[in-house]
Amino acid sequence: MSNINRRDFLKVLGWSSVAVAVAGCGKTSVESGVETVMSYSQPEDFLVPSIGVYYASTCTQCEANCGVTGRVREGRILKLEGNPESAINLGRLCGLGQAAVQHHYNPDRLKEPLLRQGGGLQPTTWENATALLAEKTGDLKGEQFAFLSGGLSGHLKVLVQNYVDSLGSKNLYFYEALTPAVNQSVSQKLYGTATPRFHLDKAQLIVSFGADFLDTWVSPVHFASQYTQFRKATIDKKRGTLVQIEPRMTLTGANADRWIPIIPGTEGVLALGLVNALLKGGIGVKSLPASVVSAVRAYDKERVNKEAGVSGEVFDKLVALLSERSPSLVLSGLSAEGHAHGAQNAAAIMLLNVVLGNVGKTIDAPTRLPFPQLAAEEGNSVALKRFNDSLAGDKFKVVFIYNANPVYTAPAFMKLRDNLKKSEFKVVFTHYLDETAQEADLVLPLDSALEDWGTHVAAYQPDSIELTMQQPLMEKLYPSGTRSLGDVMLDQLKHRRANEYKDFADYYAYLKSALTRNKGAFSGVSADDETFWNQALMHGVLKVKGQEQSISANVVNLDIAQPAPIGDDQYPFHLVPTVRSGFRDGRHANLPWLQETPDSLTTMVWDSWVEIHPKTAERMGIKEGDILEIASKNGSIKTQAYLFPGVQPDSVAIPLGQGHEAMGRYAKDVGVNPFKLLDPVFDKSTGELAMHATRVKVSRTGASVRVVKEEGWSPIVVNTQQGRKLVSTIAVDKANFSKEV
C-alpha cells in the first residue's frame, strides 16, 4: 500500500508551484483513491483552471532515458514534451517518447491483480497477492528463485538487487532483446570503456556500419540533435558527410549522402579492406602493431568486392573520403554485430577509428559514475539463454518477470513457453496481459510510468553523468488496482530485512531519503533537504559529480579474423529483422499512435511485411501485396510482400515488434513475429544471440492483398516525385551556406 503523505507532498510542490504547480496530484488522497480528477470545490491557490502546468519527469520508453515535461491540465496529463534541462534530449522528444501517454491511458491496461485458479486467471486483491508472494518465497532456497528483468537503473535496480540477495539468490537476469551488448564488450576491450562518448557534431565524416543512431540506436534523440550540428556548415566547419553501410536501409541510411548495401555479415571484410587500403595510403600505420598490419593485408579490393558485394569504385570513393575528411567517426551497429563473428566485425570496424586517429577526437571516455549500484543494467540476450536453460533444467520453483516479454521475444528454438511451465510459481509484473503474463500464475499490474516514482541513470551519458527523476504526472487511474514495483519490492524486503527497511513508509519515502542523504554527490544543489528535493523534482535532472576519464585504444589481442562466407542453397536469403523506432522489441505495439504512424521507409501501417528488392521480386515474379512464406530452419511465417529498393538483393527484411498473440486490442493479431524465425546462432565471444545470422527461403503462397500504406497507390513500383519539385536536392558544392542562420 503506497502511503505517500499527501499533505507533505502538496506542501513540497506547493512551495515550488511557481515552476511546477500540482494540478496533476489532486486533493483526493491516494488512500481513498476514489477520484482521478481534481475537485474544484476547494482548489489549491496555485491551481488555475484551463492553464496547463508542466512537470519534469523521465521517459522510460527506451534505454535513452530522455528528460520529459508533462503538460497537466485539470488533473490530466495531456502531452509529453522534451525537458530542455536534460543534456540527453535538450527539450526534444521522439514519437515513441510522446506516445507514452497512450501507455498510461491505454484501454487494455490491467486494473487488478490476477491469480491462476483452476486453469484460468481470476481477479484477486493486492492483499492476497502480496501475502502469496511472501508465502511462496518464504522458505525458498536461493537457487530455486529467479528474477528476469528488463533493462534497469537507479534505485529500483538497487531494490530489486537487494530483494534477490535477500532471498540468497544469484539469479537476477537483465534481459533485453535488442541491445548493443556485443558493441559494448568490444568497446570495453578496445577503448577500456563499454559506452564511449561519441561526438557526431565534431565529425567531418561519419561512416556507420548499420548503426541506426537517428532512429533506434542507443540514444537517438541525442544523436539527432548532434546530427543537426554535424550537418550544419559554419565558418570553421564544413557540412558533415554521412556514409551508411548496411544490408537494409535504416532511417539513418535513408539520410546518408551515400548508402551502401552490403551482404550481411561481411561488414568486417569491408572494414578490414578499408584499413588495409588506408595503411597502404600511409594513414595510421604507426597506430597499429605489426601483427594487425600483416593480418589485414589479406583484405584487398577484390576480396571486398567478392565477399561483401561492394564494387571497387564505391570502395575507392570510400577510401578517398576516409583519407580526406578528418576528424571522422566510424560506428558499428546491430546489423554488423548480429552474427556468429559479430564481435570480430565490431572489432574490425572500430579498428578504423584507431587507424584514422578518431579516438580522443570524436570518441572519448564517459564520466565515471560514483555509485555503480545505480548504473544502468542494459540487459542482453545471454541472460535470456541462461534463464531459459535453467528453466529447461527445472531449476526454478519461483520466477519473477518484470519489464520483459520473453514468451514473445524468445526465438522459437528456445521453447521458452514450455520451459516456463516447469516452474511452479510464475509472477509477472506488467501493465498488460501480454504473452508472458498469460503464462503466469500471478499477474501484478504496475503503475504506468506516468504514475510512478523513480530515478534513472541512462547508460549512454552524452555529457557529465545525470540522474533523472521520475515522478507521477497525475493521480493514479486505478489507485486500488495498480502498484509501483518499488513499493512491492520494499514491502517484500520489509518481511525479509525488516531492520534495514522499516523506516521507509514507501518507495517514495525511500527515494527521497536515499537522494537527500547523498545530495552531496550532486553539483549545484542547495543545502536544505526540502529545497534540494523540490529542485530535483522541478528540474527533473540531477548532475552527478563524477570524475572525468581519458580514453586510449588498445588493439593488441583484438580478434578481427573474418570467417569465410558460407553459402546455403536451401535457404538462399539472409533474414534482416529490422527494428522499428515505434515498436522496438514489440513492447510498444499496443500504442495506436505508433501503429497508425507510417513506417518511415516503407510507409506501411498496422501490419507486418517482408521487404524484398524489386529486382529480386521481378526475378521471382513477386508483386506488391503477394503473401509470401518466409521459412527458416526453425519456423515459418506468412506475410505480405513490399518491394523495397533499400534492401540488399540477397536479403529479405521483416520488421520486429508485430505479431502479438495478446497484449490488447491494438497489438493482438496484427502482423507476424520474426523473432520466432531466428536460427540458434550466437556470437562466439559474448554468447549474444546473433539476430542477423538467420537464413531463410521465400516462396509465394498465391494469395495477395492490397497493402495498407501511406504512399500513393499507383502502378509505379518505386515511388518517386514524378518530375514535380517537391523535395529538391542540391549538391553540397553548389549550395551556398554563407547566408544561413
Binding site: L80, K317, W606, G646, V727, S728, T729, V741
Partner: protein, 285 residues
C-alpha cells in the same frame, strides 16, 4: 449595417493579399515556417506530436486502407528518379502539412465561407460552418485537407476509455462530415497572443511554437512571425531571398544562386507560407 460598410470602405474592400511586403501586408502577425530538409530525418516525431496536440483520431487499418487517414502532418518518402534500383543517395523526406497559402485555392471555392484568410495570415477552418462539400480539398494542390468521413469519437478505434482523458481541451474533437487540416496549432498561438495583449506587447519570437517544431529532434522546423523582421523565420526567409508575394523568386530568375530556399508548387500562385530548404547531398560520397 453591411451597406454602410460597403459604401464607406469600398477601396479597403477591393484590396487583395498578399501585398508586396515581407509579411504580405499583415499588420501584427504573419505566421510562417521554414523547414530544413537537410536535417529532416523523416522520424515522424512531428506527426505523433500533432496527434497528441490536435486530438487527431486513429482510424485503424481498415479505414487507412481506404485512404481515410487523418494525419495533418504527414511525412512523405520519395526515391531518387536516377537510382530507383539502389537508392545510393538515401530517401527524400518531406514533411507536408497545410501550407497556409496567402492566396489559398481552398478559400475561394468554399460555398459557405468556412475556410478563410485570417488577419494573422493563417488559412482558418471554421468547423461549425463547414457543410462538407469538400470543394476545398478538391482544389487543394497539396491535398493536405482531411475530411471526417466518420464520426470518429464513436469509432471503436479512436478513443476507447480512458483514452479520451488525453484529449486536449484547448480545441474540439471534430464531428462527422467536416473538413479539417493543420492549423499551425492555432490554440497555442491564440493563448500566446492573449498573454501578450494582456501585457500590452506582441508575441516575442520563440515564445510560442507549433507542436511539430517543438518535438522535432533535429530542429528542422522553424516557426515564427514574419512581421517581426528579427524573428528566426523572417531571417531565414530573408537570407534565402524567398519573398512571400512572388510566384517566381528573383534569385531563380538569375540562375542558380546556391540558396536552398524554395516553396512547393510556387508557380501555382498560392503563395504558401512554408519555405523548405533544399536537401543537400555530398556528390563526392
Amino acid at each position: 449595417m453591411s451597406t454602410t460598410y460597403m459604401l464607406r470602405d469600398w477601396t479597403k474592400l477591393r484590396e487583395t493579399h498578399p501585398q508586396p511586403s515581407p509579411a504580405g501586408g499583415h499588420a501584427e502577425y504573419k505566421w510562417a515556417m521554414a523547414i530544413n530538409l537537410d536535417v529532416c530525418t523523416g522520424c515522424n516525431a512531428c506527426s505523433v506530436a500533432c496527434y497528441a496536440e490536435n486530438n487527431l483520431p486513429v482510424v485503424g487499418k481498415e479505414k487507412y486502407a481506404h485512404g481515410q487517414s487523418m494525419h495533418w502532418m504527414r511525412i512523405e518518402r520519395y526515391w531518387n528518379e536516377e537510382d530507383v534500383e539502389t537508392p545510393h543517395q538515401g530517401a527524400q523526406f518531406l514533411p507536408m502539412m497545410c501550407q497556409q497559402c496567402e492566396a489559398a485555392p481552398c478559400e475561394t471555392v468554399c460555398p459557405v465561407g468556412a475556410t478563410n484568410h485570417t488577419p494573422d495570415g493563417l488559412n482558418s477552418q471554421v468547423y461549425n460552418r463547414c457543410v462538407g462539400s469538400r470543394y476545398c480539398s478538391a482544389n487543394c494542390p497539396y491535398k493536405v485537407r482531411y475530411f471526417n468521413w466518420y464520426d470518429y469519437p464513436e469509432q471503436e478505434m479512436a478513443w476507447p476509455d480512458p483514452l479520451p482523458m488525453q484529449l486536449n481541451p484547448d480545441l474540439t474533437v471534430r464531428s462527422k462530415g467536416v473538413m479539417e487540416k493543420c492549423t499551425f496549432c492555432v490554440q497555442r498561438l491564440t493563448a500566446a497572443k492573449n498573454t501578450a495583449r494582456n501585457e500590452g506587447r506582441t508575441v516575442k519570437d520563440g515564445e510560442v511554437t507549433t507542436a511539430c517544431a517543438q518535438a522535432c529532434p533535429t530542429q528542422a522546423i522553424t516557426f515564427g512571425n514574419m512581421v517581426d523582421p528579427y524573428s528566426q523565420v523572417s531571417e531565414k526567409w530573408r537570407h534565402q531571398q524567398v519573398e512571400l508575394h512572388k510566384d517566381v523568386q528573383d534569385k531563380d530568375k538569375s540562375g542558380d544562386s546556391g540558396l536552398r530556399g524554395y516553396r512547393v508548387f510556387e508557380e501555382l500562385r498560392s503563395y504558401p507560407s512554408v519555405m523548405y530548404l533544399e536537401r543537400v547531398r555530398d556528390t563526392k560520397a
